[in-house]
Amino acid sequence: MSTLDLLGQAIAFGKSKDAKAFTQRALDEAVPAGEIVDRALVPAMAAVGERFKRNEIFVPEMLIAARAMKEAMALLEPHLVAAGITPKFTAVIGTVQGDLHDIGKNLVAILWRGANFRVVDLGTNVPPARFVAAAAEHRPHLVGLSALLTTTMPAMIETVRALRTGATASVKIMIGGAPITQQFCDEIGADGYAPDAGTAAERARALVEAAP
């Protein structure tokens, strides 16, 4: 098995120490950082997302895989910067006002990074005005809104409404979170919904690639 295969496997099964060691070994073998990302990290996280989508793994398994990927990325980032490799798309993401939960949002952010997005993470409890300001500043291809609490879904409605006015009106908006449904997405005028983090990466790519 090649070093990149071993690295991919370490990430998929959340083995952080192995992920770090195999990343270093790949760099020592003079594999370009961009190739390590494309051939090991991206497919590994895509596979993790697929297994999550099929209910073969759940949030704890996703979290340890994401932690392993983060270890690998920490080693790779200086090499990526030095090589001038930048992501193709930009996304802004945050958990809506009143909601302090960040797991779903963090997992989506990691998978979006793996799907060639630069991700500006606004954190949790983000007021609509901050989403609008970030969208105006970073001019993203996509804005992602997360909510875990049923009671903060109205804040999602307010945020979509705020983003749909003025200079940010045409930005693509994706929503997600445990209580969110496609019906809710349609009702509030968001562009996309994903039931899980794996699907969120696929839908994000589809949305931004379909944009004019």
């Binding site: 949030v59 398994e61 932690r67 445990a178 809710f184």
Partner: protein, 340 residues
């Protein structure tokens, strides 16, 4: 023609739990910020002061026709007892500024809270006592404790605890054992003060695999349920989110009421838990109850009752959002004939 007197809310509630047919289906919605604002107060005051919580819930019960008075406010009663600093917000869920075990997971430093002395735990016990003083036995009174996984996640931070379940299962077990011991102490105190039912919230459990749930979390939930029953009270379990994958395990817990969120198929719940468990739920709280219209809410709750069949109580899938128009909540609570 012979007519019988209508049942009191408590009698109606107990009738369903016994398997008897009530005059109509009991209504047990979860209200927090909505209730606070219904009496002109705010969520921060509701969570911080049992007098506000009690007044708000009694007024909602009277105005909308609830059958149960609840003590639910936020997840951090026990967490505060364990030593966490909690900051109240006027219009939002209280904030836990730093989970006590987030940076230093050593359980040796974790105190065992005394429910009668820890201020936020005592405040909930005072709420139960105030309900009984003000309303006697008219309503069911719901005490509340955090489930083992939920409390462990509050103490460690959610991501840390979910990773602990895989990284160090023995640590996760030891932490949940501490949470259960406190949960039992807290339940005992609320039952002694007059609660006839203890609610257990274990939201984070919905995020784990059936295997992790069965091996690590379920045994601790079972211990809690058995303790509450031994103290002579009923158990109402609420796990937010989609718990379809956990239903086989949940069916073995022995809870009296399984209160499910809107993403779960009630017919599947009934098939899993059998006829002896009361099912509550599960109209979509936002898309249906908040957004209405009222007629749609009534249609939806009637459909829930039919899907659940047998022992059933009216509730939305989760908390009633603060922005819900009063007539939508009234529609949810309109007397409904019990399902067959």
């Amino acid at each position: 023609m012979k007519t019988s007197a209508p049942l009191t809310p408590r009698e109606r509630y107990e009738a369903v739990l016994r398997g008897d047919r009530p005059d109509f289906v009991p209504r047990i919605p979860i209200v927090m910020q909505f209730a606070a604002e219904h009496i002109g107060s705010n969520y921060g005051a509701f969570a911080a002061d049992h007098r506000v919580l009690v007044e708000a819930n009694i007024r909602c019960a009277e105005d909308f026709g609830f059958d149960q008075l609840s003590t639910i406010s936020d997840p951090y009663r026990e967490t505060a007892g364990f030593g966490a600093a909690i900051e109240f917000q006027r219009d939002g869920v209280p904030l836990c500024l730093q989970p006590p075990l987030e940076l230093a997971p050593d359980l040796a430093n974790l105190p065992r809270p005394d429910p009668a002395a820890a201020p936020r735990m005592r405040d909930r016990i005072d709420a139960v006592r105030a309900y009984r003083q003000r309303t006697g036995e008219h309503y069911s009174v719901l005490g509340w404790i955090e489930g083992p996984a939920a409390e462990a996640a509050d103490l460690r931070g959610v991501s840390n605890f979910l990773m602990d379940l895989l990284d160090d299962p023995d640590y996760a077990r030891a932490l949940m054992a501490r949470c259960v011991a406190t949960g039992i102490d807290f339940a005992r105190a609320q039952i002694a003060a007059g609660a006839d039912t203890i609610g257990i919230g274990d939201a984070v459990a919905s995020q784990v695999s059936p295997q992790v749930y069965a091996e690590l979390i379920l045994p601790f939930e079972r211990e809690l349920v058995a303790a509450v029953h031994a103290f002579g009270a009923h158990v109402r379990l609420h796990i937010c989110g989609n718990i379809t994958h956990l239903l086989p395990g949940l069916a073995t817990l022995g809870v009296d009421i399984l209160d499910v969120d809107h993403l779960v198929d009630l017919a599947a719940v009934r098939r899993a838990v059998g006829p002896g468990v009361t099912v509550a739920g599960n109209v979509d709280p936002v898309s249906c109850v908040m957004r209405g219209p009222a007629g749609r809410v009534q249609t939806a709750i009637a459909a829930c009752a039919r899907a659940a069949g047998g022992r059933y109580m009216i509730n939305a899938g989760c908390e009633i959002p603060a922005a819900t128009p009063a007539d939508h909540l009234r529609a949810l609570c309109t007397p409904l004939a019990p399902p067959a």
